[in-house]
């Protein structure tokens, strides 16, 4: 069987996290470890297509990374970053047999090592863009090219984000440790935020040429599931997984045959992905048993939709109650708007409209397309068609998404008088 670069990259995707974690532990230097791992990958991409995939690919990559470190040292070459003297000593001592201890070093990687790695790649000192790129490349095992394609940016841009991130971490001398207990909740929050950001980047993709971006939803899901095994006692990790599984279950129904977005109310629920819904329910149960938090509450809301056969039979009162708690925990105009929508569904459009109207003064929503769209929907149900049309037009004006604009304009046309 011929070995393609896609086959090499597949192995890489499976091994990348463990390999970088092992190398970071040996070298004590994440940036150097990541460089070495990438160099090993490049070598694999050159050699494996000719020689075949080695029987133990992880060991091969590890041994090669060590070889490369020793080589660089011997030839007095400067690596992109200098290895700490201690790490070099470790490497050169094994010069005779770089394969020595390779398997042990890989086997000794414990879940905490991977967790340390995620805390590093989502470090709050990094920019959001860098966190995303570094996490996807190191923990998710994506190539720079894949990340660039998913985010619709040039490959060198992703490369720069990653080098900048590694430089920042190196300058801070970030230890390869779990954050101290006092910092843990905030640091875990940063990790979850990064994962959910990746998910939403994919979820925002709605049209045919954007399916490479939609794959980001699944990258985020896989990262989330990994985190759930690394941090099994944290309710919000399971809450985030539940939220993503449930939201992803709707992907097949979110787009019409012409690529146009389909609103929740109009989706063919038979096309929702039952396997993901089941997984979402299970994750939500786990989260609920451990505690709660913003992700868990949002997952519980998503679960209300997943359980309902239609908009009409949805438990809107429960959704209102969940949004009320969510707004209490994380007050924001966006949550208030979502709550207004739910209230409008549970108690009638007048009530929804009354809650939505004052939100127009919120700076966060003053330019949003969602607010006029929500008001338009309620106005329409109240029979105020001219006002509804004006609000739909305003929403169309404000949205930056071409597909979304078409949707609003179509709704404006449909809000016929009388």
């Amino acid at each position: 069987m011929s070995v393609t670069s896609a086959a090499v990259e597949a192995v890489w995707r499976i091994e990348s996290g463990r390999l970088v974690a092992a190398l970071t532990r040996i070298t004590g230097d994440f940036a150097a470890a990541e460089d070495l791992a990438q160099d090993a990958l490049e070598r694999a991409l050159r050699q494996w297509p000719a020689d075949g995939i080695p029987q133990r690919p992880a060991s091969w990559l590890m041994a090669t990374a060590k070889h490369l470190a020793v080589d660089a040292y011997r030839r007095r070459l400067t690596l992109t970053r200098k290895l700490p003297a201690l790490a070099l000593e470790t490497f050169t001592q094994q010069e005779g047999d770089p394969m020595a201890d390779v398997d042990e070093q890989l086997d000794s990687i414990v879940p905490d090592d991977l967790l340390r790695l995620v805390f590093l790649t989502c470090h709050p000192a990094l920019t959001t863009e860098s966190q995303v790129a570094l996490t996807l490349r190191t923990v998710g095992g994506l190539t720079t090219r894949e990340i660039a394609r998913a985010f619709l940016v040039p490959e060198p841009t992703v490369g720069q984000r990653i080098s900048r991130a590694k430089r920042t971490l190196a300058q801070r001398h970030e230890p390869f440790e779990l954050p101290p207990a006092a910092e843990l909740p905030a640091r875990l929050g940063a990790v979850l935020a990064t994962v959910y950001l990746i998910f939403n980047e994919g979820y925002a993709a709605t049209c045919g040429d954007e399916w490479t971006r939609a794959e980001l939803c699944h990258d985020a899901l896989r990262l989330g599931r990994l985190l759930a095994t690394l941090q099994p006692d944290e309710p919000e990790v399971h809450g985030l997984v539940a939220l993503m599984e449930l939201q992803a279950s709707r992907i097949p129904a979110r787009t019409g045959p012409g690529g146009e977005p389909v609103l929740l109310a109009d989706q063919d629920r038979r096309r929702w992905d039952q396997l993901l819904i089941r997984r979402g329910f299970t994750a939500l149960e786990t989260a609920d048993a451990l505690g709660t938090g913003p992700y868990t509450l949002q997952a519980a809301i998503a679960a209300c939709h997943a359980r309902a056969a239609s908009v009409g039979t949805t438990d809107w009162r429960r959704i209102v109650a969940l949004y009320t708690v969510l707004h209490h925990l994380t007050p924001s105009p966006v949550v208030a708007l979502n709550r207004a929508v739910a209230v409008g569904m549970a108690e009638g459009p007048e009530r929804g409209l009354a809650l939505a109207a004052p939100l127009a003064d919120e700076p966060a929503l003053s330019a949003s397309a969602e607010l006029p769209a929500v008001r338009a929907t309620f106005l329409q149900r109240l029979g105020h068609h001219a006002e509804a049309r004006a609000q739909f037009h305003l929403a169309a004006e404000r949205t930056t998404n071409a597909r979304q604009r078409q949707l609003y304009l179509r709704q404006a046309d449909l809000s016929a008088p009388g």
């Binding site: 086959a7 499976i14 049209c207 399916w211 896989r222 989330g224 690394l230 597909r403």
Partner: protein
């Protein structure tokens, strides 16, 4: 993208599968689940306990197993991965753990893509 891996036996030595094989299967499954790629996996009973329902010439009929003319299906697994190659790699690893742990056993795994939204991608805007 999602793949269904169907494992089939070609040659099965007498006796039950060795415990160390079962242990390795569990460990690999745990790895794949932890990595977030294994969504579902189950073993299947021999076709002797199964039934085949068919529609032939306008008639629906059922025949109890075993299905002697086809290879025995042993298990299925559903993977959520980024590429076909990745699903193939997991399937290779699964077969790989049989190699030394159950001498004489031979089998094959079919890696099939499950239709996803990406297969019905509408034309660009």
């Amino acid at each position: 993208m999602r793949y269904l891996v169907l494992l089939k036996a070609v040659t099965t030595p007498d006796g039950p599968p060795p415990p160390e094989l079962m242990e390795a299967i569990m460990a690999l499954g745990e790895d794949a689940r932890a990595a977030g790629v294994l969504l579902d996996a189950q073993g299947l009973q021999p076709s002797g306990t199964g039934t085949r329902v068919s529609l032939l010439g306008g008639t629906i009929s059922s025949t109890d197993g075993p299905f002697t003319e086809s290879k025995e299906l042993i298990s299925y697994a559903v993977y959520d991965v980024r590429s076909r190659e990745e699903a193939v790699e997991w399937a290779s690893r699964f077969l790989g753990i049989h190699r030394h742990r159950w001498p004489g056993w031979e089998g094959e795994a079919d890696v099939l893509k499950i239709f996803g939204p990406e297969d019905f991608a509408p034309p660009p805007a």
